[in-house]
Amino acid sequence: MRPVSYSRVTDVATAIATVAADPTSAYLAGGTTKIDMLRIYAEPSQRLVDINALPIDHIEVQPDGAVRIGGLARMNDVALAPVVVDRFPVLSEALLLGASAQLRNMASMGGNMLQRVRCSYFRDAEASCNKREPGTGCGALSGVNRGHAVLGTSPHCIATHPSDAAVALVALDAMIHVQNSAGHHAVAIDDFFLLPGDTPEREHPLNHGDLITAIEVPALPAARNSLYLKVRDRESYEFALASAACALTVEDGVIAEVRLALGGVATKPWRARKAEHVLRGAPATRETFARAAAAEMADAVPQPMNAFKIELAQRTMIRALETLTARGAAS
């Protein structure tokens, strides 16, 4: 492992000041991404500033029905919080279908948003990778790319965004709350994740030293009828080949409200706006679902080994929509 230094901070201001002052430093939350990166030499040597003692791990219900999740709240705590289970089952399920119980007990929500891609060329410190070392090329383009993205790719990077929770949060229009030495601001989650374009090394708009203090999920009654469907080779402990976060309200056979986002197939947690557009106001039938899913994937770009994902993503969306339609009708 890379040589590192380590210190612990107990208040937000010191945390920010410490990291902002040293360009080689970084926050350490659960460490389930960070330590990995240092072990495999995918990130440079660093001074680790342990933020686990910061008081930003609460899950609070706001007066307007929104839920504010602290940046250090653990994945399992969020997944099992009654308010999340009740109002945002899609988020609870996305969290519970991620990683393993042990990892979820360690891993924080802020860290989850900033986890790094699983692309094996990114993780192989000696392979060419534009994300890890801009300008060196993309090993995955001519390599093994079954798991890579078909949406939002660029000639410079095709890595899939790995987070499940972020897919649910993108469907829910969450806000990422950020604090730095200049103060506090919030970023809409869809703007938080950047497409690779020709700067795949830039994954989000945070500056060095910016701290994620909270993730706010606005009230959304439709989210009570929501789910996360994750398709993968094995039953657990694996990233998605395709996933769908979906919330749906059907009134008199017509889709009144829908939220749909995709994981496992795109370079960022992918809000399926084209599909939503087809769905909203249309009859809740398999035919509509198929049309919407096809519209979403119309611009998908397959790689040699992952063309199946274009079809799989559509079937995943259709299954999610059908399941929620049936559930809504039953309740």
Partner: protein, 743 residues
């Protein structure tokens, strides 16, 4: 009289393992211990042009950087010989760091030795190698044009072409034929414990703590590689965290650890990283098989033609014997089997649990299912019509065969007769359900040399039995305690087994499912020899109540010798020894295994049944139930034997649905990590039903143990593939069967 054998005794080493008290080979704490880390080749073919060690040598804690320019040369590389023979057992006839030539990606090019593991790992990253790359072949696809028919495979033991009768003519005349090509991805073993060796020199004497299936195999191999007398090497293997074949042969790292220790004059630990496990200890080769079955309309097989094509290394003609069991499973007069090879830039492939049996029987048993479909016959009925009453290649009788009972019991458990033969007819929500079956078999192979154990009893009646075998996690130490206790006639609590040390009486490596059979033979013979010796002493001792009695009439239980028909007449071992002022007594047991030419077919048989659920929209396949019934001969410990069989079946499921190492276009394994090489997790585990059929085998070894280590995996993949066909109507000829092929 058996009291301990067969009981589901808890593992004797269980407590040490779960509490962490047991020290594995990479956990041996020694004063002055240094750590070695390997630097491996990025390219599959070419040369090291320049090796720049400047930064590495100056990094904190570094003691030495060793490579082809400064590594002291030793002895010679022994020939490739399966470790079951008990001699040197090099995994490939190549030893690295002798020159600048690169034969495969992952080849060991340099070794950094430092004070701590972290320092060695860091410095290893600082070694800069400039390569001169040349064209390479790393896959079947790339090498197809250069394939050649092997003269011999498997270290020369198996001919490249095997025939009986005239398959071509019989196929021409066959009323029905089924012909397909099959593909199986490469596999890696992935035991939880990565291979590791800790090496210590004391003068010219070497001790190796090595994670190995055979301490003696390590000893003999390292002796030849380093040109050190075998008498000067001791190999200790306290615990092994699984192997599945990757520790069956001896690779270069134990010798490298010894060379590093010699170079820095300190004990050195060399532990492979998980990634290095993919290119340091062999693999199951990627393979293509083409199988043609010919049959008459009643379903009787008339011909089998089975060809295999697979890549091997530049040094050795190795292919796992995929044709073996598949050629012995059914009565069929005409057979042709051929191994074709491609010289490739990979290391020599090696034993991987069910080496050949798993892949070959996947092919044979899915073809049989297809034949049954074509003939409109029940798949089980088809197998019964082709039941091999004698070993098909030689015509010899089987030493024992309980396969008919396995079929019957398996079918009963699976309620096979209630299955609707038409595919795609049973639904459960989004899931299509299917049931499939397959035959299973694994050969019983004797070791090449005598197997030994020593039994020693102390004056208080407690006893120890010693034998050098290593327990690779299967529970063999526990089973051997049971065998030893029964053989000597002492209670389990008074018996200790000492093992995992080449200084103890010789055994071959615990490989090929042969460990329990051969070690139990030696242990049984040693323990009963000591028993007989003590009985003889008692009978001869005029102070013994047994004086002058017929030794054949004396039985021992609970440490007490007594007349069978007058149990009141007798005395304990302790009384006998104490009276004679003897602190202990001991006996050596030697088992001379039957030769390879024994006129019997020897095999553990089984029948496998699977129930699967397939979601054809999403391409998901979930196995709901596996049922396996086997005839392993004598079961030494019901619990560990069932765990072995169950583990085998789960691996068979994994072989069918998950496992595959993918060769990247750059000639490197692309998914060399547990994150990307998928093995099943608990959530994938179905309901597994394991049963064994009582069979008595008087040929294979004294206790009639045929073995449970691997047979559980044979046929599982086919049973699953056949169940998928039954669920969906689609045949699958490629492993693993993944989402994209199920959609």
């Amino acid at each position: 009289m058996t009291t301990a054998i067969g009981r589901p005794l808890d593992r004797v080493d269980g407590h040490a393992k779960v509490t962490g008290a047991g020290r594995y080979s990479a956990e041996i704490a020694l004063p002055g211990l240094a750590h070695a880390v390997l630097v491996t080749s990025r390219i599959p073919s070419g040369r090291v042009e320049l090796i720049d060690t400047y930064d590495a040598e100056r990094a904190e804690g570094v003691l030495a950087v060793l490579h082809h320019l400064n590594l002291p040369k030793g002895g010679s590389v022994p020939p490739l010989l399966p470790s079951l023979f008990g001699a040197a057992a090099s995994g490939q006839t190549f030893f690295p760091m002798q020159d600048e030539v690169i034969h495969y990606a992952g080849q060991h090019l340099a070794m950094v030795v430092a004070e701590t593991l972290d320092q060695a790992e860091h410095a290893a990253r600082l070694v800069r190698i400039t390569y001169q790359e040349t064209a390479s072949i790393t896959t079947v696809e790339q090498g197809r044009e250069r394939a050649y028919e092997a003269e011999k495979i498997f270290a020369g033991f198996i001919p490249g072409r095997i025939t009986r009768g005239d398959a071509a003519a019989a196929l021409d005349r066959a009323q029905v034929t089924v012909e397909n090509s099959y593909y199986c991805a490469a596999n890696h073993h992935n035991p939880i414990e990565c291979s590791a060796t800790t090496a210590v020199w004391e003068g010219d004497r070497l001790t190796l703590y090595d994670a190995t299936q055979g301490p003696n195999a390590t000893l003999h191999t390292v002796a030849e590689l380093l040109n050190v007398m075998p008498s000067h090497i001791r190999v200790v293997t306290n615990y092994v965290g699984g192997s599945f074949g990757c520790k069956a042969m001896i690779w270069d790292h134990p010798a490298l650890a010894a060379l590093a220790a010699r170079a820095v004059h300190r004990p050195v630990r060399l532990a492979l990283s998980r990634e290095q496990m993919f290119s340091s200890v062999g693999h199951r080769e990627e393979q293509e098989q083409r199988l043609t079955l010919g049959a008459d309309r009643d379903g009787r097989l008339t011909a089998i033609r089975h060809h295999k094509l697979s890549p091997t290394s530049h040094f050795d003609d190795w292919a796992e014997p995929s044709l073996g069991v598949a050629s012995q499973m059914y009565a069929c007069p005409n057979y042709e089997g051929v191994y074709n090879l491609i010289k490739a830039n990979t290391m020599t492939p090696t034993f991987t649990r069910c080496p050949g049996e798993a892949s070959g029987m996947f092919v044979m048993e899915t073809a049989m299912d297809e034949l049954a479909e074509r003939l409109d016959l029940d798949p089980l009925e088809l197998r019964l019509r082709n039941y091999a009453e004698t070993e098909p290649m030689t015509g010899h009788p089987w030493s024992s065969k309980g396969l008919r009972d396995c079929y019957r019991r398996g079918a009963e458990l699976a309620r096979w007769s209630e299955r609707d033969p038409r595919p795609g007819t049973v639904r459960d929500g989004n899931w299509l359900l299917g049931w499939g079956m397959a035959s299973s078999g694994y050969p019983v192979t004797p070791p090449g040399n005598p197997q030994r154990a020593r039994a020693r009893i102390f004056a208080d009646g407690s006893a120890v039995v010693q034998s050098s075998f290593s327990d690779i996690g299967t529970g063999s130490a526990t089973a051997m305690t049971q065998v030893a206790a029964d053989g000597l006639g002492v209670p389990l609590e008074r018996m200790r087994i000492q093992y995992g040390d080449s200084d103890l009486p010789n055994t071959a490596a615990a490989v090929g499912s042969a460990g329990a059979g051969m070690v139990s033979a030696a242990v049984h013979i040693a323990a009963t020899a000591l028993r007989d010796q003590l009985i003889a002493q008692a009978v001869a001792d005029e102070h013994s109540p047994l004086h002058g009695t017929d030794p054949r009439q004396v039985a021992v239980s609970d440490g007490r010798m007594a007349l069978r028909d007058r149990p009141g007449t007798g005395e304990t071992y302790a009384e006998l020894l104490q009276r004679a002022f003897m602190a202990d007594a001991e006996a050596l047991g030697t088992w001379n295994p039957p030769g390879m030419d024994t006129p019997y077919g020897t095999m553990t048989f089984g029948a496998q049944f699977a129930q699967v659920a397939v979601d054809p929209d999403l391409g998901l396949c979930r196995v709901r139930q596996l049922i396996g019934v086997f005839d392993p001969g004598r079961v030494l410990n019901r619990k560990t034997a069932h765990s072995q069989l169950m583990g085998g079946m789960l691996w068979g499921m994994s072989h069918a649905l998950l496992e595959g190492t993918i060769m990247g276009p750059d000639g490197r394994w692309a998914n060399a990590s547990l994150g990307e090489y998928l093995v099943p997790v608990n959530a994938d585990a179905p309901d597994v039903v394991v049963e064994t059929i009582e069979t008595t085998d008087t040929v294979v070894n004294p206790l009639g143990v045929k073995g449970v280590g691997e047979v559980g995996m044979v046929g599982t993949a086919a049973a699953i593939a056949n169940a998928i066909w039954h669920a969906t109507g689609r045949r699958h000829h490629r492993l693993p069967i993944t989402i994209e092929s199920l959609m």
